[in-house]
Symmetry: C2
Subunit: 326 residues, 2 copies
C-alpha cells in the first residue's frame, strides 16, 4: 500500500493514510472504531492482513497501583531498544482514560514529537460493541500499522482483567503493598492470568511481606516451573526495576514463541473472539425477531399474559429460528 | 391435583406430592432443579399453571449487613399474620448458603415444626443453567406450592443484585453504617433496584449519617415521590423496626397492585426470562455447531490459521445458521 492507493472508500483511504504513518488518520480511525460498529468491523478487515507481528503486553492491577507509570517507563525502555510502540489505556478509573483528550496529551507530552510512539485512551462511554471489542480492535489496528510492541493498560477489577487475556500475549499484574490488596487481587482471578507479578512501590512497608505471600501462593501451583509467573519488584516513579521488567517481558515472549505456546494462545484468542462475535450477532437477531416477527410476537404475548411458561415458549422460538434444530 | 393423581412420570409424581405439602418431596424437587437442567425445565412447566399468587420480596445488600436475621424476623412477622412462607437464600458468602444442609437446619430450627414455612439455601456449585435460573425456578416452585410470601435473600455484590430484579416484586436493600458502604452499594447499582432501604444495626455510630446520605441521594432522584424508595431503620437482632418493615412491604405491594405496576413488572420479568432462555439456548447450539458442522469447522480453521479475520468469519457462520438472514 502506498499513499497513492486512494479508493472511493473513505475508511480505506483513512486506513491507507494511517499505514503511512499519518497520526491524525490513526486518531480518526480510533474515533470511528469507538463510535461505529460497522466501521470497527471494516477496520478489522482492513487491518487483518497486516497484523500479527506485534508483541502485545497487558498491564493490569487495581486502581492506583502505578500501571500508567509503569507503561510510560516501559515505553522509554522500548524506545531505547529502537522499537516502535503503541499504548492503549482502557482503565475506566484512570485519570488518563474515559476518552480524556487532556489525559492523552499529558501522557503524550514526553513522546509527542516521537513518531514511533502512539498513545490512546479508549473511551468507556458509547463504545459500540463494548469496551472489550474496541480494545481488541485497537490492538489489531496498531499491530497492522507496524508497531513492534503494544502495551495495553487495563484496571484489574471485576470482569475487565479477564478481557486482557483475550488480547495480550503476556500479562503483567501490578500490585502495591497495601492491606487486603493481594487477597482482593487473587479473588479477582489475577493469579490465573499473571505471567509476571510486579510489586510496585517496593519501598513501602509490607512490600517484602507481599512478595513472600505471592511466592508462597505460586509454590502451591502445580503448573510446570518454567510457566509459572515471575515476581519483580519496582519503584516505577524512579524507574527502578523497569529494565528488569522490560527484559523479563522479552524473555518470556521468546520462551513462549520457542515452545509454540504463543501460536497456541493466539489461535485460542481468535477462536474465542469468533465465538463471541457469532453469539452476539445471533443474540441481536433474536431480539430483533422477537420484536418484529408476527409468530414470535404471539409467543411473547402468551408469556406476558401467563398462558405460556417461558421454558416452553423459548423452545418454540428457538425451534423456529434455528436451522439445525429442524 | 390430589395425592391419587399418580402418573408414570417420577418428576410429576414428586411435584404432586409437593403440592400436597410433602416437605421431603419439595426438598427433592429443589435438588433436581439444582443439578439437572432438564428437570428444571420440566418442574417449571408443571409449576407454571399453579404460580402467580405469591408476593415475592427480595432482600439484598453487602455481606454482613444482617440480611439473614432480617429474613428470619420477617418470617415471624408473616407467621403472626397467618401467611405461609418460603425463604430462598442465594448468598454465596452466607454461612447458610453454599448448599449447606447444616446451615438450613440451623435456620430452620425455629420453624422446623411449622409446616407453613419452607427454607432453602440454593447451592452455588453445580447449579445447571446458573444460579439465577435456579433462583427463579425455586421462586416459581414455592409460588406454585401455594406459599403466600416468598423471601429471596441474595448478596448485593457484582451482578447478583441485578438478578433479584428479575425475580422479586419488591426489593429491600439492607445496609449497615460502615465507612464506604453506602458509596460502594450505590456504585453496585443498589440505588436503582431498591424499593425499600433498610439501615440495619441502627444503634451503631454513623447510622444517622448514613440515613441522611441516602435521603440526600433520593431527593436528587427525579422519579415521582410515591415510587421513591422508603428508608427504614432496624436493629434486626432485637426485632426493632421489623414490624414497620413488614408493614412497609405490604403497603408497597398493595400500591403497586393498585397502580397496575406489579402486573407490568411481572410481564417484563417474564419477557426478560424468555429472551435469556432463547439466547442461551441459541448460544449453546452455536457452540455445538461450531465444533461439529464440517462447513463451520473449516471457517474456524481459517480463523485459527490467520487466513480469515474473525469478523468476516462470524458473518459467514451467522448467515449459515440463521434462518431470517437469508
Amino acid at each position: 500500500m502506498t499513499p497513492e492507493s486512494v479508493t472511493a472508500d473513505p475508511l480505506a483511504n483513512l486506513f491507507n493514510r494511517a499505514l503511512n504513518g499519518d497520526r491524525r488518520a490513526i486518531a480518526r480511525l480510533f474515533t470511528r472504531i469507538e463510535n461505529d460498529g460497522d466501521a470497527l468491523r471494516d477496520v478489522m478487515r482492513l487491518a487483518h492482513p497486516h497484523a500479527g507481528n506485534a508483541e502485545i503486553v497487558g498491564i493490569t492491577g487495581p486502581p492506583g497501583a502505578g500501571k500508567s507509570t509503569i507503561a510510560d517507563r516501559l515505553v522509554h525502555a522500548a524506545r531505547e531498544d529502537d522499537r516502535t510502540i503503541g499504548v492503549l489505556a482502557v482503565d475506566p478509573t484512570s485519570p488518563f482514560s474515559g476518552g480524556s483528550v487532556l489525559g492523552d496529551r499529558i501522557r503524550m507530552r514526553d513522546h509527542y514529537l516521537d513518531p514511533d510512539v502512539f498513545i490512546r485512551s479508549i473511551a468507556t462511554k458509547g463504545a459500540h460493541g463494548g469496551l472489550a471489542a474496541v480494545c481488541r480492535a485497537g490492538v489489531n489496528l496498531l499491530d497492522a500499522l507496524g508497531k513492534d510492541l503494544i502495551l495495553v493498560e487495563t484496571v484489574g477489577v471485576g470482569q475487565t482483567e479477564l478481557d486482557i487475556m483475550g488480547v495480550a500475549d503476556i500479562v503483567a499484574v501490578v500490585l502495591v503493598p497495601e492491606a487486603g490488596d493481594t487477597v482482593q487481587a487473587m479473588k479477582a482471578g489475577l493469579l490465573e492470568i499473571a505471567d509476571i507479578f510486579v510489586v510496585n512501590k517496593a519501598d513501602r512497608d509490607g512490600a517484602g511481606q507481599m512478595a513472600s505471600a505471592i511466592r508462597a501462593m505460586l509454590s502451591l501451583d502445580p503448573m510446570p516451573d518454567e510457566w509459572k509467573p515471575r515476581l519483580l519488584m519496582t519503584q516505577a516513579h524512579l524507574g527502578e526495576g523497569i529494565p528488569e521488567l522490560y527484559e523479563e517481558t522479552r524473555l518470556r515472549l521468546r520462551d513462549m514463541k520457542d515452545a509454540g505456546r504463543l501460536t497456541e494462545r493466539r489461535k485460542r484468542q481468535a477462536t474465542d473472539e469468533l465465538t463471541r462475535l457469532v453469539t452476539s450477532s445471533l443474540t441481536a437477531e433474536v431480539l430483533r425477531a422477537m420484536s418484529e416477527d408476527q409468530a414470535l410476537l404471539k409467543i411473547v404475548a402468551g408469556v406476558k399474559s401467563g398462558d405460556l411458561d417461558p421454558y416452553s415458549a423459548a423452545e418454540r422460538i428457538a425451534d423456529s429460528l434455528w436451522r439445525h434444530s429442524t
